[in-house]
């Protein structure tokens, strides 16, 4: 600690404004400083124990039976066979709970602990098993006999609102499938509307984002039957909320359910209320009498963790001619999902978000919370305000433009000042939005870049506001207690009932205690989460942490200080006592704090405790009908700005600079505040540019990180946080909340910046390349004509595609009976590792499959795509690892050469190095081999995510991509019954280099051109007894110049489209032996043969290529409904490739 104390300084990037406010913290030793997390040694060395790291004797493993249907009646459910299996200790269903048991949420209670006669979304929990091993638990799940009667249910808002749709719940509202109608009228909306002489409006969609915390939801439960107490270790943000609901649902006294402290690996809202796993584990622990552990796997986490509610917003803003916003009007449809998990309060909070910023004269909002047969929405950082900030701040830009104001000036004009009370009744003692906007302007170099930015570059800004803990959910939500234990050994312990999910809350509390008691921070321990040992706190949600826990611990620590001084006075008489570094001093005397504690007659067993309660009387519970009331003690503000480059050829958006300026009152820890700001902004950028859960027929298609475009390190700029520091009279030391707000501005910032760059407004999130290219094509009135009527070869496919939405898909689908969506692989028998090819080849066959790096074998097995029980490892075969140049100058690359080795441009060919470095991650490339890359299984997200499709189960099953989301990873040329593509980037490159593959079996070898190797998407001519031995590239080819370009959604993603271009270029710039090979666009690597022919021997420029190439695309392509944009992107990539090749020649 001591070295790091010396490094304490102000924030790295931050401007501190209004230093006169900061006297409270200037004199503090720890508060305001970048104090590292107090448990950093444990967290960075793998010592911290998360829930999954806990082992108990006789620990059982829990698996869950989940619904494969979006909506079905459960005709029968019989767990007898499962229960009878050896090694199974308990099975539970809804029958184990009292009839009608439901979870409680603010104003709603419709969610049962396990499906109650009906399943309402894919992934819903039906039954759970506790068994000795995961394998036995999985087998027991398979042994549960269940019959469903599926019903056609609405899966989208529009479907739900149709008159004849199935009614999902019995609701009080008159409109079918509307869980709640909201009507908010604040101020004088009618007059305000009339006063708004200039209006802008638009329709905006915010899709489903998932938290994707690195630690999945997990719980360990232990039932002590002697005590009658249930002990829980839960990865949660809110132990008390978990305790109360677990106790209620299991019929236990609240005090008989005890949550214990455990490290929590991120929450972002997903762990701020009870889900299902906590009660399931508790019930199984009680029923089995054994400790049980339930840890979601990643696909369960995606499929069952309650994600962000989608908002569909029609909004209008009106201003007067001077530029004052007068009126906000909105009609908002919110997708609730299958239950009221937290939908009612999320919509309420989202609407309030529009009543906290600026000062219109009137606000009129109408919202519907609409039921669908999809995973329920849940709590997510921003909690509804994120979804409404996006339209509000986009329209603020549109309004500024219409009034001919600068977007920052316009917001400054409408920003409020200290002491502002909003239409909603929010008492905002400090408002530094104006300063945030000014700081953002300066930091992003707004004025300079506005006048001299290059084409396709744009600037965007957005503002935001959030709370410091909403007085919501419960009547005691304005209260927070804390305790300080003083020990005779001089140490101090803070006891606090919340949970630190990584926000640094424990450290902040230690800073406060250390400063109030004038102790070195190393002398302070912090205990959290333990519902038996810690006093009352509702947990880390609604940005409560700083305000409530900060105040509570400050009060407790101050009381402890007073207590120490009182002991000193009683023992040593009146004097001027001071606390200093663990000592109490007076006159020339000194005593250690520990010794003083010893002198107190209140000290028991070496411990002296002070416990205090903080109740914030400045807040009120908002009126449930109007939403009015000052629900938060303070309000925090932000302005974010970005500078972006939009590639109009490919639709890619690159963020060149991003600044996030926040007013969070006083800074309590300058490092963790930066962490919250940057982390929030990164998550908001993810929502803006990539993240979206994709459902098809109610089932999630992208249930893993690999298909979920959350930002990786190379996708983000170094986001720059700034703090406009000041002091709010209602916060601890003047501090306000900060944890959530960072996520709100980015979507509008980026939509605004993209508009600034290219003049098109994208108002549905995420802003992926397809939306940009489609918008540009529409703006320029460009349309491709594929002349399908002249192409008889495509008629049959066109007919099938036409028939799909008209009944064919439904018929094909009805022919399949769904099984459980979870797949448990057959056990592996053995892995042979023959030392030579001669040993290996005879072993190969249908059930004995070769593996190279083996990077896909574990995923494929868990996806039910690999049933071989014997694996033949080729990794140890030296012959396959060689790179040689033959006598005739050809290059031969062994198939077991890894992708990492290929990244070396000197080892084989620069093109292969360029390609290899774009594939996956370094860790994957270290394992993956060239041969494995070439033969990898297709990556279609329907196929991979367990959809029972044509390629998985046979000819009578449908292809889900035809009607599903096929914008990125499906073919736009030559698609047949399966729309998948060959995922190998190496294949694209090798075809461009006219490579040959040497295929070897025990009976001989054959040589196949790379261009003839593929027969379909990720399907090859390779026989079961064959492997790819080497890849051969002719000497003449090696002299060609070659480049590779790839469009992907995140660093390391598979190609959305790609192109490998190779040519010889003579002294006069003429191209010959030209190959253009495209990946991601057709079932197999696709050669632009006509373009190659037309350009051979010519001077090639981006323009000449584009013309010819577009003609060829139009003549060959047969895109699906929503992936024609890939042709534009591909043509754009080709242009880029031509320019790059010309430069390199």
């Amino acid at each position: 600690m001591s070295e790091s104390s010396r490094r304490f300084s102000t924030l790295r990037n931050s401007v501190r404004v209004a230093p006169e406010d900061l006297q409270q913290t200037m004199t503090k030793r720890y508060i305001g400083k970048p104090v590292p997390q107090i448990d950093w040694r444990e967290r960075t060395s793998g010592i911290s124990q998360y829930t999954a790291d806990l082992f108990f004797p006789d620990l059982l493993i829990v698996k869950i039976l989940r619904s494969p249907y979006p909506y079905a009646l459960i005709a029968s459910l019989d767990t007898m066979r499962a229960e009878a299996m050896p090694g199974v200790h308990a099975v539970i269903t809804m029958a184990d709970f009292p009839p009608g048991t439901r979870y409680l949420h603010e104003g709603a209670c419709d969610r049962p602990p396990l499906a109650d006669g009906v399943v309402r979304y894919v992934g819903q929990e039906i039954a759970a098993v506790a068994a000795d091993t995961p394998q036995i638990a999985a087998a027991a799940i398979d042994a549960i006999d269940i019959n469903y009667r599926p019903r056609r249910a609405p899966l989208k808002i529009a479907e739900s609102l149709r008159r004849h749709s199935l009614k999902l719940h019995a609701r009080k509202e008159a409109r079918p499938n509307v869980s709640r109608v909201f009507r908010r009228r604040w101020g004088r909306p009618d007059e305000a509307k009339a006063a708004g002489q200039v209006a802008v409006s638009g329709y905006f969609e915010f899709g489903r984002q998932t938290h994707a915390s690195m630690e999945p939801n997990s719980v360990v439960a232990l039932w002590n039957s002697d005590e009658g107490r249930l002990h829980l270790w839960v990865s949660t943000q809110a132990p008390i909320l978990i305790r109360d609901e677990v106790a209620r649902l299991l019929g236990l006294e609240t005090d008989n359910v005890i949550c214990h402290e455990v490290a929590v690996g991120g929450g972002f809202g997903s762990k701020s209320r009870i889900s299902e796993h906590e009660v399931i584990a508790g019930a199984l622990a009680i029923k089995s009498g054994r400790p049980v552990r339930l840890v979601y796997d990643r696909s369960e986490e995606f499929e069952a963790s309650k994600s962000r509610h989608p908002f569909h917003v029609q909004m209008a803003l009106r201003a007067d001619l001077e530029g004052q916003v007068r009126h906000i009007e909105g009609q908002i449809n919110v997708e609730n999902g299958a239950y009221d998990h937290s939908g009612v309060s999320v919509v309420g909070a989202g609407l309030k978000g529009l009543g906290l910023i600026y000062q219109p004269d009137g606000i009129a909002l109408d919202a519907l919370l609409v039921d669908t047969a999809i995973l329920p929405g849940g709590q997510f950082r921003g909690y509804g305000t994120t979804q409404v900030s996006f339209p509000l701040e986009c329209l603020m830009d549109d309004l500024a433009r219409k009034l001919d104001h600068d977007p920052i000036d316009f917001r400054i004009r409408n920003a409020q000042k200290d002491g502002f009370t909003s239409l909603l009744g929010a008492e905002q003692k400090t408002v530094r939005l104006k300063e945030c906007l000014e700081a953002a302007r300066k930091a992003i170099k707004w004025d300079v870049l506005q006048s001299e930015r290059p084409a396709e570059h744009g600037l965007g800004v957005a503002a935001g506001v959030h709370l410091s803990g909403s007085y919501a959910e419960r009547d005691d939500a304005n209260r927070c207690d804390a305790a300080i234990d003083l020990y005779t050994n001089g140490r101090v312990r803070v006891r606090f009932g919340g949970a630190d999910t990584g926000t640094g809350q424990k450290t902040m509390l230690a800073q406060i205690a250390a400063d109030e008691l004038s102790l070195p921070i190393d002398a302070v321990d912090v205990l959290t989460m333990d519902t038996e040992k810690t006093p009352f706190d509702l947990g880390a949600w609604s940005s409560r942490g700083t305000h409530y826990s900060g105040q509570a611990v400050r009060i407790a620590a101050t009381a402890a200080r007073e207590k120490l001084l009182a002991i000193a006075t009683s023992r040593f008489g009146d004097a001027e006592f001071t606390l200093d570094d663990g000592n109490v001093r007076w006159r020339d005397q000194v005593i250690r704090i520990g010794e003083l504690v010893q002198l107190s007659n209140e000290t028991i067993d070496g411990q002296l405790t002070v416990e205090t309660s903080f109740v914030d009387h400045n807040v009120v519970r908002p009126d449930p009908q109007t939403g009015l009331g000052n629900m938060s003690a303070s309000y925090n503000f932000a302005a974010h700005a970005a500078y972006v480059r939009v590639d109009t050829r490919t639709g890619e958006v690159r963020i060149l600079d991003y600044v996030a300026v926040h007013d969070a009152g006083t800074v309590l820890n300058s490092m963790s505040i930066e962490g919250q700001i940057v982390g929030g902004a990164a998550m908001g950028i993810g929502a803006a540019l990539g993240e979206q859960m994709v459902f098809e027929q109610g089932k999630l298609a992208n249930s893993g990180y690999i298909y979920y475009a959350l930002p990786r390190a190379a996708d983000l700029p170094s986001i720059r946080p700034f703090v406009v520091e000041n002091s709010d009279p209602r916060g601890p030391y003047g501090a306000k909340g900060v944890g959530e707000l960072g996520i709100n501005p980015p979507p509008a910032v980026l939509s605004n910046a993209i508009y600034d760059a290219i003049g098109v407004r994208i108002n549905t999130l995420p802003i992926t390349p397809d939306k940009i290219l489609v918008a540009l094509a529409e703006r320029d009135n460009r349309k491709r004509n594929f002349r399908l009527h002249l192409r008889p070869g495509r008629w049959w496919i066109a007919l099938v595609r036409w028939a799909y939405p008209r009944g064919l898909f439904a018929v094909l689908r009805a022919m399949r009976r769904h099984r459980s969506s979870r797949v448990f692989p057959p056990p592996l028998e053995s892995i042979a590792a023959p030392p030579t090819l001669r040993d290996a080849l005879p072993l190969l066959g249908k059930t004995a499959r070769p593996i190279g790096g083996g990077t896909d074998i574990v995923p494929r097995r868990s996806q039910g795509l690999e049933s071989a029980t014997v694996l033949i490892s080729l990794a140890d075969i030296q012959e396959l690892k060689a790179v040689t140049v033959t006598a005739d100058g050809a290059l031969e690359i062994g198939s077991a050469v890894t992708l990492s080795q290929l990244c070396d441009p000197h080892l084989t060919h620069p093109l292969l190095a360029a390609v290899a470095s774009t594939i996956a991650s370094p860790q994957i490339r270290n394992m993956a081999t060239l041969g494995g890359n070439l033969v990898q299984t297709k990556r279609c997200w329907f196929f991979r995510s367990g959809f029972e499709c044509f390629k998985r189960v046979g000819a009578k099953a449908p292809c889900y991509a035809i009607l599903g989301d096929h914008r990125f990873y499906h073919a736009a040329i030559d698609g047949h019954r399966c729309q998948a593509v060959t995922p190998s980037d190496m294949a694209t490159a090798l075809v461009a280099l006219d490579a040959e593959l040497v295929l070897r079996s025990a009976i001989g070898q054959r040589i196949v051109a790379a261009s003839r190797f593929y027969t379909g998407p990720g399907e090859t001519v390779l026989r079961d007894d064959e492997i790819v031995e080497t890849v051969r590239i002719a000497g003449a080819t090696l002299r060609r110049h070659a480049v590779f370009e790839k469009l992907r959604l995140w660093e390391g993603d598979f190609a959305v489209v790609s192109v490998a271009l190779a040519a010889e270029i003579d002294g006069e710039g003429r191209w010959s032996n030209l190959t253009i090979v495209c990946g991601g666009i057709a079932p197999i690597p696709w050669r632009a043969v006509a373009t190659e022919g037309a350009l051979n021997g010519k001077l090639v420029t981006a323009e000449t290529l584009r013309r010819t190439f577009d003609e060829e695309l139009n003549a060959q392509a047969h895109p699906l409904a929503r992936n024609a944009w890939k042709l534009d992107a591909l043509a754009g990539l080709c242009e880029r490739a031509v320019e790059k090749l010309t430069r390199s020649a």
Partner: protein, 160 residues
């Protein structure tokens, strides 16, 4: 199902254990050897949280079949001394929040620093951002991680 006797050297300590051929290295580290510092976050090679060194090479232990591992393995537990400066830099730069991805980040960073980064900080940053793109962090927005590693790279160069 056949059980194999397998010798696995982890952090310089050899272990002879009975394993199933289908078990991942991660499963064995966590459940057989109780080395729980290596985390499982995706189980399918997509996030980097389970990164360990196999020999000197960073690999994903969740998709590495244990039976195929014949060279010594190093985990966060074995590397925490070598990474003492790196761990402190993570702490001081805000390179972790929840800590769940941190073992994987640090193990990977150990290998990256052994291999070396470009001398110029901006060049090093862009190389590093690409190299670390297989290690997802949902908390920090990566700034603290990148700065911590760059700081240590510079410190080590200076003191070398």
């Amino acid at each position: 199902m056949r059980t194999l006797d397998h010798t696995l050297v982890v952090n310089h300590t050899p272990h002879t254990i009975k394993i199933d051929p289908g078990w991942s290295l991660l499963h064995v580290l966590r459940n057989q050897l109780r080395l729980t510092g290596t985390k499982e976050a995706c189980g399918s090679g997509e996030c980097g949280a389970c990164t360990v060194l196999v020999g000197d090479v960073p690999q994903l232990s969740c998709i590495t079949l244990c039976a195929r591992v014949r060279v010594p393995v190093s985990t966060i537990e074995g590397l925490s001394e070598e990474s003492a400066d790196l761990r402190r830099a993570f702490a001081e730069r805000g390179g972790f929040q929840c800590g769940y991805c941190t073992s994987g980040q640090i193990v990977h960073a150990v290998a990256i620093l052994r291999a070396g980064l470009p001398a110029s900080r901006s060049a090093a940053e862009s190389v590093l951002r690409r190299l670390l793109s297989g290690n997802i962090c949902r908390c920090t927005g990566y700034v603290g991680i990148i700065e911590a590693i760059l700081d240590v790279a510079e410190q080590r160069t200076r003191s070398a």
